[in-house]
Point group: C2
Chain length 269, copies 2
Amino acid sequence: MANRLKPLIHPASVDLSDPAATTESPLEGKEAEARLVQIRARIEALQLALGAEQTRALLVVLQGRDASGKDGVVKKVFGDLNPTYCQVTAFKQPTPLELRHDFLWRAHQAVPAAGMIGIFNRSHYEDVLAVRVHSLVPESLWRLRYQHINDFERMLTDHGVTILKFMVHISREEQRQQLEERLEDPNKNWKFAASDLKERARWDDYTQAYHEMFLRTSTEWAPWYLVPGDKKTARNLLIGETVLATLERMDPKFPPGDPSVMALRGKIV
Amino acid sequence: MANRLKPLIHPASVDLSDPAATTESPLEGKEAEARLVQIRARIEALQLALGAEQTRALLVVLQGRDASGKDGVVKKVFGDLNPTYCQVTAFKQPTPLELRHDFLWRAHQAVPAAGMIGIFNRSHYEDVLAVRVHSLVPESLWRLRYQHINDFERMLTDHGVTILKFMVHISREEQRQQLEERLEDPNKNWKFAASDLKERARWDDYTQAYHEMFLRTSTEWAPWYLVPGDKKTARNLLIGETVLATLERMDPKFPPGDPSVMALRGKIV
């Protein structure tokens, strides 16, 4: 099955202007939905072997502006995973205790153990995004974090954690529609915070922060994938394809049984 | 929708002899499967509101002998949950650090936060089951733990954690078949440990330990449910019904939007 998202590896520049332009046109409609169902089933099957093997982990980092669909990706791409071997961490405003630690402390605690698929909904990248846009630490510090992040992610990779980083890239108009949708749908009202509009007002500052994030942290060991986010099914399909291709490359195997135990076959009383 | 499992509340005695006798005969076959699909969908919908509300949590404790189907329950009853608001903790042999703490320390860390459904696959009850059977601590200590557990669970309940405890009750013959199945199926060989047979040899000691567990820890605030486990679909259906009825009683609601934000409807630029 083709995987159409390409990793960004040490890019010289990334086009963040128009989400529609960042990849070839993917499937839509019923065909895409059917394909996503297939992909989810195959991801689930490989996850079971990964969970049984317990020697390696997969970490999926999801970034994107407010209302870009990160929650939707968790549900629509990873909703079939066996809950035993899946762990989602939503990174919110840091707590007072977290702020008394370095910025990687809380991320490190949430890294998936061998056998697990871990999903970061937002991540340590907020510390070079929101933190940069709002000057929450001095530039002299946040600038150092690109290197800290690369070093941290390389260490994890060296210890058997495969890292996939997706930035769900939506247009300004799409964000407007999604935010309006949160006001229209009573089940989504609670998701809308007054601060969301303050963030929206800093659109261009975030674009700049994301751009530099791509340039500085898209490494060969932990590349970024830029995902066009305005069309949900296409977005889910592109991410699903990449996750599946990665798990297929990892090729986890169910461990063999203990020989002394296997000898008991047919003899249990 | 009927909920046929009845909570055990301060029972004077529990019949652990024949799993088939512990509840009325539930649905089987296609009708049962279809009903489980419905139940899963309704659990998922209620879970979303619980996750949005973020004031209360649900803790599901699964206990049962080896190969009784606890992993199957996680997948078949809770497999549709939104991973963002679901957290499974599998309690294994305690680590050296865990053994340097009281027995509730690791359980407490794994308690679901408000908004979450937490599932314990085995739990602090191992500390009055395996620990008792193998005399891992003196009887004078494990006897105190019934009260410790009741006090702990009452404290959690007082803080908004609803607790459901299921013991999946299989027959000795069903365990034999399930263990043989693990030797037959190459994808399950890894699940069979030599120690499983040592545990099986202590069948009656475990029965006694389970029996006293029911008598001492089935409280009005955290009752046990005895689930006949030899028929998988029936087992899943009975647990699913009870989880759904509990969530319906909790009746979580999506929170209203912030009025200052709701006033922006149709006006986002």
